[in-house]
Symmetry: C2
Subunit: 687 residues, 2 copies
């Protein structure tokens, strides 16, 4: 194809080839080509990881948006039905109740029939997975469909069941990341690597939060705080990149869908920015934090107790074991009946959707002051311009409805968390906190109707600011995180209450962390998943505890010269997953580890060389091809507890052998570490 | 003292004792006492660390505020002098110039005379310390005075020298934390622990940033990103607590000093919140990020080159070695002459202080549109209501002044960083970035004077938003951090540009990180401090590199049966700080390590038992009391590079021995790791 067509003749009379025609400046072209090559290399040097993360972010944003879209349509249909069905109370009640009951039982039945892992939020299990435990099939892509459909149904029940999206969405994102990771490793022909995979899953968790709330900063920080105890700055950057891609895409779709003019926050507030609060109010903000902390302890305790009760009570446990949809339907029936608007629901603003709950609670006017002299009517239909009318009742006043809302939602939320279907528990907690803050804020605005005068300027109190603080503090206390403060700012699009909200969150966390395990840790405890606690005690004396003090000395080693009968005896009498292999019975020098499964397999196969008179020993099995794994890390008896704990957490290890001068002298696993940590935190009474 | 006084007689006729009189309800009192005891225990169980952190935060806020106060007074005096001195150009020039020259040469001379460590920002050195290297005396409290006085003088020169406060303030905070830590360990009679101490220093760094900017969130995140590569969530919480205490106290003092009505952000902006930007503007925000990224690479390259030039050039290096104040005075003279307002300074808004620079650049009006038809006069005095008049010149227009400002400050900033005195380099970079963003924003607002129309609504472009994005992106690119985006929001008190600013920062970081080391890493390289690079390559193949491939095999072991002559020979011929001690020359089983210093000491002392005919060996020295340190951690040849790197970074280790089956077979230190990392990132060409 070098000289295909002679199109026209050049000045020299020779026919000009196509190549010459298109290549008049070989030097310039070479430079450009070199430049492009360099750019390509540069872009690929940044690493294919970035492309992977971007794909993940965009994909999850699409799924999140599609889900919101579908949910919106279902909710709109439900509202239409409820509005149009006529004034008969029975019909209205039925139309109000049938929807959630049907959706919840379908969600529960459908998702559970496909996979038993699809219930709940999934964050506790992810936390366990990210700490290195292998939960078989939990990240399998086949769970994806079940969780998506189930979650959509759950969300479509709206504020009746009052559950959210975050937890399952994080689980979905991590599933997709694991799947994409497998696809990628297959495509480029590499073998999978566990560390590499974990890096991606950490970033995926951030994407999950970010695409639900369109909040990249708090998405990253929240997922870090909830999921891990150590993390690398590199993972944090990776998370930021993916979360930004996801959040941007998610909001972009909203703009394209004409939901809004431009990219803004989800629950935009309109607080006064010049003097958002007065200095003395800081005290009340901290008080809100303290109250949220105390209430969160009560909530966590009741929630855990009730969950255990449901699991152990013969009636409910049988119901949950045999017919989950029935249990779900019953629970949904209770919840829907209570929230029926013309009934009890009238006193707890149950016509509002969850988004409207937040929008109304973050309102910057003081309802107490506005209803002091005039009482607004209870509109027959929801008034989108004055959502807060729903919170007002002529006899109860807004204080009554807010307090009633808190009391009822407290146990309703606990009941809802026991329904075995995909559902997130963060959003309801966030709204609950906002209601606590709003109640206190309204009380304050009524107590100081003139506002707090400072420096000659009168500044009325904004109860909305307290609602923001309450939401951040309560959700922070329940989940044991601080980044909820940042989440509150990103969701509202205003950061004017930065310091007071942060102080409230810190106060709430101080109380909650010293009294109760977090919501996720509590679930881990109830579900009996393995976990490694933190060393809460930071006394200097705790740094003196070393591995020698707490390691498990009773280890069974297999030596290369152990006779096979002995090996068989060891394998049948113990049940460790792996055995330390030592050089000889005498020296006990650690050489590697052997998987129990491999050993059993090798023992079942008849050894190929059978020489009479020669006693078979482990060495022969090893020579016969039974794999031995090298020891990549080992502890010394002098390693400190803190160092060992750091190692276990950072490298996601479940057990390590302890060697002294090369001899295997013990082992340390989560069990020993847990015992040592509890000894350090609550030292045993001296005998 | 049981029945001291019988005051009056009870109903039973028996005299009532004082104890009974004051103790009518023994049960209630016991309960109350029990409750108080419980509360006390609870409060102390939360850990004395919290009290320590609070003290640190409050103390640093006081120092920060006092410093700002003193600086404010000096600057006001300077302004007064400059204003009152009359119209003679010579006198005015002298009054403008003498102040900074005197202050800078005093700052340089005073601080350098007390300690040579007080120059620069201190962050590179802190980074090295936190990674486990011991820099003698760097955190000594005697540096404190030098640094405080020096920094105050530096800041008092104002925008003439154009330097900031963050870096040295972080250094000051860490110094105070180290000192308080020593006091505390002495007070409670504990021995010092290195891990414990490091935990506190990490939190202290966060306090440093937070008390300068009153920004707890970004204070914590920025210090994490700059200082470490791994961190625990526990440290992050600790940092938040301390930073919040510091930031709150700092702003509280400002309120008490009547500087403001209530607690607000430092550089409050007033952007339109309903539609802060239009969707297509996202593209321009990312472009601002890209431009900032490219400029930051140029800046970092020039800065490092010039620093090396100053250190190697015979003239400047001699000047710096012998008379630092003279060099400083000369540099200050150049900088002050250029910024003289009636001269060249007229074209670069040099009458503004650094705070006013930021305030004016973040202005929410478009100067280009405002000066299109009318030109404001250049006021004889600075007009505090219209700071932006300073940026306008009838012939140059604002584009000319902004561009001139950027060009001049580029090299002036590089010159200023070479002055050997305590100074921070973050703030000038932040302002520089804001000017870049402003310039682009103004150009856009002139290009699209009608704003970008979307959805039928006309939204004029706000150049202030671009200034925020530019400030965050440029400072983020120079320091290789992302949290500068959050800092921009906390400083301005508005988070309306959340996504575009974050995208600009990510873009700038992507460019800067792939081309240049960060400002702090660059300084570490120029100052030849030890450092451990990151593994930038995250390819799956990099996970297959194991310790065996890169460890140093040429280690000199000392066996217990090594004759003393041999030991002397080893000690004199090599210069390692510690030697691995093995069981015997034959077995090479690693037992522990011996410090070179201890060994030398022991060899100098005549051994007590001298039996003729018995050859003295190392065993005798050990028996004689020469200390041997146990091995707490050891690598295996099969440990992967990533694992080893994690271990080194997380546990702040400088070198580890590698054992295989108990035998010491090699060692890995930063040198080997660096080599392995560079091999992984840029694989050597196959031979």
């Amino acid at each position: 194809m070098e000289e295909l067509i002679g199109l026209r003749e050049g000045s020299s009379g020779k026919p000009v080839t196509l190549q010459e025609l298109w290549g008049p400046c070989p030097h310039l072209r070479r430079t450009i080509r070199g430049g492009l090559e360099w750019l390509k290399q540069k872009l690929f040097r940044v690493g294919e990881d970035w492309y992977f993360l971007m794909t993940l972010g965009v994909l999850m944003a699409l799924i999140s948006f599609a889900m919101s879209f579908a949910v919106g349509r279902v909710v709109r249909a439900h509202n239409w039905l409820y509005r149009e069905i006529g004034d008969s109370h029975l019909l209205r009640y039925l139309s109000w109740m049938v929807y959630p009951v049907a959706l919840v039982s379908f969600s529960s039945g459908f998702s559970q029939s496909i996979t038993p892992f699809s219930g709940g939020s999934g964050i506790p299990e992810l936390k366990t997975i990210l700490s290195g435990v292998v939960l078989e099939d939990y990240l399998d892509i086949k769970n994806f469909g079940a969780k998506v459909v189930g979650l959509t149904c759950t969300l479509a029940t709206g504020s009746t069941i009052f559950l959210g999206k975050v937890g399952p969405f994080v689980h979905l994102t991590v599933m997709i990341a694991a799947y994409l990771g497998r696809v990628r490793t297959k495509a480029i022909g590499e073998t999978e690597n566990k560390i590499k995979q974990n890096e991606m899953l950490v970033a995926a968790a951030a994407v999950g939060v970010a695409t639900v709330f369109a909040a990249p900063f708090s998405g990253v920080l929240f997922s870090i705080e909830v999921m891990s105890s150590h993390f690398s700055v590199w993972d944090y950057w990776r998370g930021f990149f993916a979360a930004t891609c996801g959040a941007f895409m998610f909001r972009l779709l909203a703009v394209f869908n004409s939901e809004q003019e431009t990219i803004t926050s989800l629950y935009k507030t309109n607080f006064r920015a010049d003097v958002p609060f007065d200095l003395p109010e800081i005290f009340f903000f901290v008080a809100v934090g303290a109250i949220c902390g105390i209430l969160s302890c009560a909530y966590l305790f009741c929630q855990r107790t009730f969950l255990t009760f449901v699991k152990t009570n013969p009636l409910t446990s049988k119901l949950l074991a045999t017919s989950k949809p029935l249990y779900s339907a019953l629970a949904a029936l209770v919840l829907a009946s209570i929230t029926y608007p013309p009934g009890v629901g009238r006193f707890m603003a149950s016509r509002l959707s969850m988004k409207q709950h937040l929008d109304s609670l973050f309102d910057n006017n003081s309802w107490a002051l506005m209803t002091r002299n005039s009482s607004p009517p209870w509109p027959k239909e929801l008034d989108p311009q004055n959502l807060w009318f729903e919170w007002y009742h002529p006899q109860f006043t807004i204080f009554g409805t807010l307090a009633f809302f808190l009391v009822m939602k407290f146990w309703m939320l606990i009941l809802a968390t026991t329904i075995p279907m995909p559902a997130g528990y963060f959003m309801p907690i966030f709204i609950f906190g906002a209601a606590i803050g709003r109640l206190i804020g309204e009380a304050l605005s009524l107590a100081f109707p003139e506002g707090i005068v400072a420096g000659g300027v009168v500044n009325p109190i904004m109860p909305g600011g307290y609602a923001v603080a309450g939401a951040a503090a309560f959700s922070g206390a329940v989940t044991h995180t601080i980044s909820t403060a940042l989440l509150a700012f990103e969701l509202t699009g205003q950061i004017v209450h930065a310091l007071p909200v942060l102080m409230a969150v810190l106060m709430a966390n101080a109380i909650a962390q010293s009294c109760q395990p977090s919501f996720y840790d509590g679930t881990i405890i109830v579900k009996k998943l393995p976990y490694l606690p933190w060393i809460r005690c930071r006394k200097i004396s705790s740094h003196r505890v070393i591995v020698e003090h707490f390691m498990n000395r009773a280890i069974t080693t297999l030596a290369k010269d152990t006779p096979l009968e002995e090996v068989v005896k060891v394998v049948t009498s113990t049940d460790s997953a792996e055995y330390p292999l030592v050089e000889s019975t005498e020296s006990q020098i650690l050489v590697g580890t052997m998987q129990r499964a491999h050993l059993v397999q090798a023992l079942q196969v008849e050894p190929p060389s059978w020489a009479p008179g020669h006693q078979q020993c482990l060495q022969d099995i090893l020579a016969g091809g039974c794999p031995m794994e090298p020891v990549t890390l080992q502890l010394s008896p002098e390693t400190s507890l803190h160092q060992a704990h750091n190692l276990f957490e950072l490298l996601n290890i479940q057990s390590l052998f302890v060697t002294s001068r090369g001899r295997a002298v013990g082992s340390v696993s989560w069990v020993e570490l847990k015992k040592a940590i509890s000894n350090v935190t609550n030292p045993p009474a001296p005998k």
